[in-house]
């Protein structure tokens, strides 16, 4: 009951969706749409789990003096957005959109902009031609990076070289990796449907 029925559900639905691909009929398409729509509904109702977990964890942290202030900040931000989200026209104007544009957008984009500094630091400290492989990686990266520097006729040659690098060896390498990933994903999906892979069920 606790494990057998879910395993059966996985196997039956997996086999239905696998064979559906090969059955060219309106009924098959309807089954496909029907089941996918169910998954969307289940998913929409499951997503608030994460929201609830975050809110609950921070409410608990209000009792701990070290984290109290920051948890209060988080919960205040959450409440302001939830309350302002009930106002009319929350989608296109008002407090909700103003906070989105002046708090969420700048902070999120700035957090990721820190990566520019980290990539420069990583390039300086780690990007050394220690071996043949490292030298190949380094030289390729330098050729790609030179695209931004206009050097007259050298840039014309460099741009041609970049195009060839991207469309030949880079493409070959990424294709091999993508094919390997596809095989791995397929093997995992088959193992799940056959009930060999059960980690998604968690422990009893």
């Amino acid at each position: 009951m606790k494990r057998e029925i879910p395993l059966m559900i996985v196997t039956v639905t997996g086999i239905i969706m696998f064979f559906q691909y090969f059955v060219p009929s309106n009924f098959s398409e309807d089954v496909f749409t029907f089941l996918q729509d169910w998954v969307m509904v289940i998913g929409i109702l499951s997503l608030p789990l994460g929201i609830w977990s975050l809110v609950k964890a921070n409410v608990n942290k209000l009792k701990v003096s070290d984290e109290r202030f920051y948890s209060a900040v988080l919960l205040l931000g959450f409440l302001v957005m939830v309350i302002s989200g009930w106002m009319p026209d929350w989608r296109s104007k008002g407090v909700h959109l103003a906070i989105f544009q002046s708090v969420l957008i700048p902070i999120q984009s700035t957090i990721f902009s820190l990566l520019a500094f980290f990539v420069a630091s990583a390039a300086y400290r780690a990007f050394r031609a220690r071996s043949v492989l490292a030298t190949i990686l380094l030289l390729t990266a330098l050729i790609i990076m030179f695209r931004f520097i206009p050097l007259g006729p050298i840039s014309t040659v460099n741009n041609w070289l970049v195009e060839k690098i991207l469309m030949v060896p880079n493409m070959a390498a990424k294709r091999a990796i993508a094919m390997g990933i596809a095989l791995g994903a397929t093997a995992t999906a088959i193992k799940i449907i056959l009930g060999i892979e059960r980690t998604y069920m968690g422990r009893d």
């Binding site: 639905t13 996918q36 608030p48 902070i107 060896p169 390498a173």
Partner: protein
């Protein structure tokens, strides 16, 4: 720019600088901004999910459209909430099973078709002529095969297999180098956008107070 917009942009600029302060070292301003965005983002997404997903996709169908077949997936979705109970968390496996089974079944055929068969076809189905295009095609075939051999660990990389896998790793290193070169552009762009914003804000301040 109006006074209100100037204040909002000022708030954005202040929060931007709070995050940048992390580059010197971790500090209360950074922590404040980090927690604030977590709360605001969660609140935003909660309202978005409720108004634009739950209401039209679940509530309206059941309450207004009379589509009672959606009761079953709704119940399955609500069953996911049993995960919070140690005694009843096994009930959520039924919902997870639906999602996992359906996703796995679809992904087998489509992943194989798009990421394997189409790619194999494009690798093999190339003109092997004695011109620039032919040379590129030949190099692509050699590159893909040698990179695939490099990832084949069931046989030792010795002898001719060792030579081919060595070519493969050289090809892979070129791929990673290309990726790094493009990554630098991407990361710098993120920083530049913030600098342009801050410059714009300073100009707005100057214009507002300078007249």
């Amino acid at each position: 720019m109006t006074g209100g917009q100037l204040i909002l942009n000022g708030l954005a600029a202040f929060l931007t600088l709070c995050i940048f302060s992390f580059l010197y070292k971790d500090n209360p301003f950074y922590k404040f901004a980090e927690r604030l965005v977590a709360g605001v983002a969660t609140g935003y997404w909660t309202m978005l999910l409720f108004h634009t997903n739950f209401v039209p996709v679940v509530w309206n169908r059941l309450a207004h459209d009379g589509r009672y077949e959606y009761i079953i997936p709704t119940l399955l979705g609500l069953m996911m909430w049993t995960r919070f109970s140690k005694k009843w968390s096994w009930v959520s496996r039924y919902s997870i099973a639906f999602y996992i089974g359906i996703s796995s079944g679809i992904s087998i055929t489509l992943a194989l078709y798009a990421s394997l068969f189409r790619q194999l076809e494009a690798t093999i189905n190339q003109p092997l002529t004695f011109d620039a295009a032919g040379v590129s095609s030949f190099l692509i075939i050699v590159g893909v095969l040698s990179a695939l051999v490099y990832f084949f660990f069931s046989a030792a990389h010795k002898g001719s297999m060792g030579v081919v896998s060595r070519i493969g790793i050289y090809v892979i290193m070129i791929g990673f180098g290309a990726g790094f070169g493009m990554t630098v552009m991407g990361r710098i762009a993120l920083l530049v956008q913030r600098v342009i914003f801050l410059k714009g804000y300073v100009n707005s301040l100057t214009a507002f107070f300078g007249g």
